[in-house]
């Protein structure tokens, strides 16, 4: 239970057990926690639907279409992967040329940039695949507005225009879209194995498992998936995704598909090294999962994700800035800040949250 909670998989466990009518056969103590997590997930889903509705209404003003990504897409497209999926930000993608128009319409409707710092602003706008996140001043919801699925500076550079062109509307004629099934899988794979931080790695692998099981019911899904991966230069992340989903979660992947994605495999030494790292880092980050080298594996994957994100000539100055300048600025800001009581502290008998 502790491991599942660590990676936000408690609600998913409730659904899996409920589907198989197994909840009544478990001892009542853990089931109470699963029920509590399920209640939380239902509220979360309600909140996401409302937030997406707010976003949709704002977008009507400029008659622009957006492509929902990740958790928000799974929930709004009513995919099995959306059931009990907990996430903190709403991610969506727009064509790069529309970024300014979309950002300004949200700024006009109560969202504010979360980073006031000029360095952060420039870093995002110049190098990243998304704008600095926006937060609604009242509801505190966070938007990540992407124009691509990987940073401009990344080693792999999938053509966003192809993803945008294949996206499918949630409702006919509506302004909300989601990625085509194959692209949704490839984005999830890329996010986990090429870009992501692995704090909730297992949760993301469970997403992949769920998407693959669901979409592979359609004819020729596997062929389309491998073709698309080759077409948009994402065969490497797909190789990792299918391999670890199969090995760790038993996701059914046909043998011929595994053979096909072998093209994305690195050399044998690298495969060994990646195994050492991913088998450790894809476990929940809980003491009961820690074994020798887990800390090192997580750190190496963190370094790898940055290495894949941008070349060293950009990465080194960035990390130095983050290590020295940012803490100094924060320290200075903290010194200036007038201490104001937090409403939650006044209301309830708990200390302030981080």
């Amino acid at each position: 239970m502790c491991q599942a909670r660590q990676v936000d998989l408690l609600p998913r466990l409730w659904y899996l057990l409920n589907d198989r009518d197994l909840l009544d056969e478990l001892p009542p103590e853990p089931v109470r926690h699963l029920e509590s997590a399920h209640a939380f997930a239902l509220a979360h889903e309600r909140g996401v639907r409302w937030e997406v509705e707010c976003i949709r209404r704002v977008l009507l003003e400029i008659d622009e279409q957006i492509i929902l990504l990740k958790g928000a897409a799974y929930v709004m497209a009513k995919l099995p992967a959306g059931r009990g999926r907990i996430f903190h930000d709403i991610d969506f993608m727009v064509p790069k040329g529309k970024l300014n128009a979309v950002e300004s319409v949200f700024l006009r409707h109560g969202w504010r940039s979360m980073y006031a710092d000029a360095y952060d602003q420039r870093y995002y706008r110049q190098w990243m695949h998304e704008l600095p996140p926006l937060r609604h001043y009242k509801r505190r919801s966070v938007l990540d507005i992407h124009h691509s699925i990987l940073p401009e500076t990344a080693r792999l550079y999938p053509d966003s225009r192809k993803l945008l062109a294949a996206a499918q509307p949630l409702v006919k004629g509506g302004n909300l879209k989601v990625l085509a099934p194959v692209d949704m899988v490839l984005h999830s794979a890329t996010h986990l194995f090429h870009d992501g931080e692995l704090e909730s790695g297992l949760r993301d692998l469970v997403d992949l498992d769920s998407l693959l099981r669901h979409f592979s019911q359609a004819d020729s899904f596997w062929d389309k998936l491998t073709e698309r991966a080759l077409e948009i230069d994402l065969i490497r992340p797909l190789f990792y995704a299918l391999k670890y989903a199969d090995r760790i979660l038993g996701t059914p992947v046909p043998d011929y598909v595994m053979d096909k994605v072998q093209r994305g495999s690195p050399n044998i030494g690298m495969v060994w090294l990646m195994d050492q790292m991913f088998y450790r880092a894809l476990k929940p980050d809980h003491v009961s999962c820690r074994e020798g080298f887990t800390g090192i594996a997580r750190w190496m994957l963190y370094v790898r994700s940055h290495y894949l994100r941008m070349p060293f000539r950009l990465l080194v100055p960035h990390l130095l800035h983050k290590a020295f300048v940012t803490p100094y600025k924060e320290w200075k800001l903290e010194k200036q800040a007038v201490k104001q009581p937090n409403r939650a502290d006044v209301l309830k008998d708990v200390p302030p949250e981080n």
């Binding site: 239970m1 502790c2 909670r5 660590q6 001892p27 103590e29 853990p30 109470r32 926690h33 029920e35 509590s36 997590a37 209640a39 939380f40 239902l42 509220a43 309600r46 809980h286 003491v287 502290d345 006044v346 209301l347 309830k348 008998d349 708990v350 200390p351 302030p352 949250e353 981080n354």
Partner: protein, 310 residues
């Protein structure tokens, strides 16, 4: 087995190493700490609580310990850890025991959505319960402590666990958190009660915890349906006054005092309307504990026929 049957050495070992499994109402908390004030606080205020086998299931795995950095020694701090991670910012080391108490409140408010949870004190007598929601400073905990010292059973001074399924309130008796002047008020009102060490300069001023009566702890597994919802307000020198409160207004005030009403959605609405339907609701102002307790002792339970409009 009760905690008091452990030797000092056994208690120390459990708290420092594998963790002490304490049954608190419907929950089992596994607590670890090597901080003397926490160990002493637990030994003094949780002496009557049942302890559970190490091999069983625990609801919350918590730890109170100093951070692993300079603040272990320099202006020392303390962290509350849930599943080995800290949900809060560190607080001064002297507040270690209150930090454990706040942390346990947080656990229940975060992970017990199978209940409708409200921020209120609950006491019971002769099978009838009073729910007392009130903002800090209104004398809720003081009144709760006074009632408990005069024979009412303590359910909680902070948390209502209302089950939407059974329509009953589950006790979660814990030490009562007394603040500032209340500590002396209760000491002189009931010299026999056990009050733990005071921690000064917390976010809430000086805090000390009063031990829950042994009968309340022994009956912690006995839920009871709610009878009254009373909003207490302390006014210096005022005479006790109990005024009937319309159910609609009482309902809205309860929403403000709930932790997860919104989260539970329709279920939360149905649970809360169900709760208000079966309760008589009052506003209550008082200036002396003795008078207040006399009013509570004389409360007449609502007649069985529902009077929803009140």
């Amino acid at each position: 087995m009760e905690l008091s049957s452990l030797t000092q050495c056994e208690l120390n070992t459990q708290l420092r190493h594998q963790g002490l499994r304490l049954r608190i109402g419907p929950f089992i908390a596994q607590i670890r700490s090597s901080i003397p004030s926490v160990i002493n606080g637990i030994q003094q205020l949780y002496a009557d609580y049942p302890i559970e086998q190490e091999s069983g299931f625990a609801d919350f795995h918590v730890e109170v310990s100093p951070p692993r950095n300079l603040r272990r020694w320099f202006r020392p701090q303390v962290l509350f850890l849930f599943d080995h991670k800290s949900p809060f910012k560190p607080l001064p080391y002297e507040q270690a025991f209150p930090v454990l108490e706040w942390g346990l409140n947080w656990c229940v408010s975060q992970f017990a959505h199978n209940y409708l949870t409200l921020h209120a004190a609950v006491v019971e007598k002769d099978g009838h319960t009073v729910i007392m929601p009130a903002p800090p400073g209104s004398g809720k905990s003081t009144l709760c402590a006074g009632l408990v010292a005069r024979g009412w059973r303590l359910f909680s001074d902070e948390l209502v666990l209302f089950s939407p399924k059974t329509g009953e309130v589950s006790p979660i008796p814990r030490p009562i958190s007394l603040k500032n002047e209340s500590i002396e008020v209760i000491r002189s009102f009931a010299p026999e009660v056990v009050i733990g060490r005071s921690s000064a300069d917390t976010a809430k001023g000086t805090v000390a915890h009063m031990k829950a009566p042994i009968e309340s702890v022994r009956q912690a597994m006995m839920p009871v349906a709610p009878t009254w919802v009373i909003y207490p307000r302390f006014e210096a020198h005022a005479s006790a006054q109990l005024i009937s409160k319309p159910k609609g207004a009482a309902f809205m005030r309860l929403i403000e005092n709930s932790f997860n009403y919104t989260l539970l959605g329709l279920q939360g609405f149905e649970a809360l309307t169900g709760l208000i339907d079966v309760c008589d609701c009052y506003d209550f102002s008082y200036g002396s504990l003795d008078e207040a307790i006399a009013v509570f002792d004389a409360l007449e339970p609502p007649s069985t026929s529902l009077n929803i409009c009140n």
